[in-house]
């Protein structure tokens, strides 16, 4: 799966000097010919060291943490259709700056990614941009309308090689249709990623149903609307022995149901967004739609349960649900605003703040939840750094280098996205991605797009 833009620089070699794989002891890692060529004891490599290809650049990466390139199972790149809010180019620049090397682009574009033609178009736009791999997600139903199955097999067999199918933004609420989709994608080891939202229970829903919604006079999006669909789909997946993935789990009850389904041995996986790990519904009191998102921000108890679920593996991975929106779709009254938040460039920092700083996850855990697990769910090849922290010689040199020490204030204007709807504006978050390599080629160096 070599990319067109890669050729020019793939031949160049890099030494990451005194880098710490998954936060472990420093090593020197040589990236050459697009793979992890070798590693040596930390600090032992100099310009005259043996075995370095000519023109090798030695990077001082002392103290930086080496992670496998991050994988986002849930990104909205908005192209085709809303290029004013995001393009494949701008969205993947944000991804690379956030340490991501693969993003799964959701199907709710215009036209919808429900045919081989559209998914191939998105895939090629990703290749041309070259900032990270773009894996299109195919729609489950034609036009996301929830009526008829889209040509799932054609999308799977296309150049885009689609393996993840989702109507995200809409729930596949018809139980029979969901059953058929779960069964059908088994033929090509696909997975259905469900946006769990019972539609009748969430008509005109504006925020989490509860004390804050009652006070603000905003109609409620009840937790049960998510949990009921997750329970139903877990039972269906168990029944037909198919893989099910749950998008953006947001409630404590959902975590419990997923834990139960996993205990049954059913093939259910789940993701949580960074914003659901950090933010609560109290922010809605400002009526600033930058906090409007679907599923909505929930309570502090939900946040605690999500963190615990991610820590113990009930929730398999973090996915950003990066959802850029143009200013006119956010600078409105609450009810008129579109739901969604930027996430790619802040995800690793939010995970660091919510999971690492408090000791819930170590760096191996972060690598698992943000790279290995999503890669597994999405059907990607094994990454360069395995869960044990060893650097796999011969694996593609697709890695992320994180400086864990700085705290930075989020400046919406400085983000690479075309949109500005970050909920973290003005907030100080830990960590900074210093470099991202995609198959040996830097996409980000010194915190800037290459």
């Amino acid at each position: 799966m070599s990319t067109a833009g890669a050729g020019a620089r793939a031949g160049k070699a890099w030494v990451l000097r005194r880098v710490r794989p998954l936060g472990g002891d420093p090593v020197d890692v040589l990236l050459a010919d697009g793979v992890i060529a070798s590693w040596r004891p930390g600090g032992s490599t100099g310009p005259d060291s043996e075995g370095l290809p000519p023109g090798t650049t030695i990077l001082d990466t002392d103290g930086l943490i080496l992670l496998p390139g991050l994988v986002d199972l849930h990104t909205h790149l908005r192209e085709p259709g809303r290029e004013d809010a995001e393009t494949v180019g701008s969205g993947t620049r944000a991804a690379a700056l956030g340490g991501f090397t693969t993003v799964f682009a959701m199907a709710n574009t215009n036209p919808v990614a429900d045919t081989a033609g559209v998914v191939e178009q998105v895939y090629r736009l990703g290749v041309d941009a070259g900032h990270c791999d773009v894996r299109p997600v195919g729609a489950v139903t034609v036009g996301l309308a929830g009526q008829r199955l889209a040509e799932l097999g054609a999308m799977a067999g296309s150049a885009a090689g689609v393996r993840v199918f989702s109507d995200d933004g809409h729930c596949v609420s018809d139980a029979l249709l969901m059953r058929r989709a779960l069964e059908y994608v088994k033929a090509f080891d696909g997975v259905v990623a469900q946006h769990a939202e019972e539609p009748r229970l969430t008509e005109n829903a504006q925020m989490n149903e509860g004390v804050v919604a009652a006070r603000l006079g905003l109609s409620g999006w009840p937790a049960v609307a998510e949990e009921a669909i997750i329970a139903r789909d877990a039972l269906l997946a168990g029944h037909v022995d198919s893989r099910l993935h749950i998008c953006h789990v947001s409630t404590a009850g959902s975590v419990e149901i997923i834990r139960w389904a996993k205990a049954k041995g059913w093939r259910v996986t789940a993701e949580v967004t960074p914003h659901h790990l950090l933010l609560t519904e109290d922010l809605v009191s400002s009526y600033d739609p930058v906090y409007k998102v679907n599923p909505p921000l929930r309570t502090a108890d939900d946040v605690a349960a999500l963190r615990a679920g991610l820590a113990d593996g009930t929730i398999d991975c973090v996915a950003t649900d990066h959802a850029p929106h143009a200013a006119e779709d956010k600078e409105t009254e609450w009810a008129a605003a579109r739901p969604g938040m930027l996430g790619l460039q802040t995800a690793l920092s939010v995970v660091m703040e919510t999971m690492v700083v408090g000791g819930r996850l170590d760096w191996a855990g972060v690598a698992d939840r943000m790279a290995l697990a999503p890669a597994r769910i999405g059907g990607l090849p094994s990454p360069a750094v395995d869960a044990g922290g060893s650097v796999a010689v011969g694996a593609p040199a697709t890695v992320t280098l994180l400086d864990p020490s700085p705290w930075q204030v989020v400046d919406p204007g400085a983000l690479a996205s075309r949109s500005r709807n970050t909920p973290y504006a003005g907030r100080s978050l830990p960590g900074a991605v210093r470099a991202t390599f995609l198959r040996g080629r830097p996409t980000v160096l010194d915190g800037m797009i290459v």
Binding site: E209, A213, G217, L218, S286, Y287, T332, E333, W334, A335
Partner: protein, 307 residues
């Protein structure tokens, strides 16, 4: 007073009493032979109504004109607002007009909050979605105080569609701030799930509550709630939660019957009750002008600095 009046939830006891006391003075002005005051001469008040409400808009308009403010009525119908102009664009237009105060009615909860972040002038919430309607609650409290002499210790019962009622929310916060005890009575479907956090008692039994009520406030129930399965039939609603003549008879003799209007006679309130001596429906209209004069005076009558 703060710069805006967006909620009663954020209104302090002192400020609430200041509004009521000021409204009392304004009511006296209505007794003078010349009822127009020069107080807000040269100030511009914009009535920005995205929802039709002749009653509330007129009340604000009369209040502003009695204080000699220039009034611009900017209604959504027939203006660029209905052609898709955003609230933000409208706010910028109002800025250009030099609005000192914007009185905003909007179908979206929180719209006046957004407006307040985009304009320099004061924003008065004249009802936003299912959130709040602070001047209505202030005039209700004003009416109670005038009729019963106090608010502290009053037992106020609010009946009906609390879930969708901005009047109920504003009244609940204000009455709690002023020391009344509030009971809400409604079918459980028409109470918000978060009602447990409100400073109210909840009851589903109107007959049990009425004999212990100094004030009963009937909320409008929109017929379309029926089709959304909030209750089965109009008849059943009326039987369980309507204030008919028999029910009104079990109220204490001094008890008031209030209704923010417009009323659905026969369903939530019987005509004989609405027109009885204990009903405040008519004086609520006059009191509305006094309270809105007070609010406009307190927001615009000084230099704008907190005194």
């Amino acid at each position: 007073m703060r710069r805006h009046l967006l909620t009663t939830e954020e209104l302090s006891r002192d400020d609430a009493l200041l509004v009521l006391d000021t409204a009392e003075r304004m009511a006296r002005v209505a007794e003078a032979s010349v009822r127009k005051l020069p107080t807000l001469r040269g100030r511009t008040v914009v009535n920005l109504f995205f929802e039709d409400s002749t009653r509330t808009r007129t009340s604000f308009e009369v209040a502003a004109k009695r204080l000699s403010a220039d009034v611009i009525n900017f209604s959504a119908r027939g203006s660029s607002v209905s052609k898709g102009e955003s609230l933000k664009d409208t706010a910028q237009t109002l800025e250009a007009m030099g609005a000192d105060a914007v009185v905003c009615r909007h179908s979206a909860s929180g719209a006046p909050h957004r407006l307040a972040s985009w304009v320099r002038g004061s924003v008065v919430n004249a009802g936003d979605g299912t959130h709040e309607h602070p001047t209505q609650a202030l005039l209700d409290a004003f009416t109670m105080r005038r009729r019963l002499g106090r608010i502290e210790g009053l037992r106020v019962t609010i009946v009906g569609d609390v879930l969708h009622s901005r009047v109920a929310r504003s009244n609940i916060w204000l009455l709690a701030t002023l020391g009344a005890s509030v009971t809400v009575v409604a079918p459980p479907t028409l109470l918000p799930l978060g009602v447990s956090a409100w400073p109210v008692e909840v009851s589903y039994d109107l007959d049990a509550v009425l004999p212990k009520s100094d004030v009963v406030m009937m909320l409008r129930v929109q017929r379309e709630r029926m089709s959304a399965a909030y209750f089965p039939t109009e008849r059943e609603y009326s039987r369980r939660y309507g204030l008919d003549v028999d029910r009104a008879a079990i109220l204490p003799e001094h008890a008031l019957v209030m209704h923010p209007g417009p009323m659905v006679r026969g369903m939530e309130i019987a005509s004989q009750v609405a027109d009885s001596a204990r009903s405040t429906v008519v004086e609520q209209v006059a009191n509305g002008v006094s309270v809105r004069m007070a609010v406009l005076y307190l927001l615009l009558g000084g230099s704008g600095e907190v005194s």
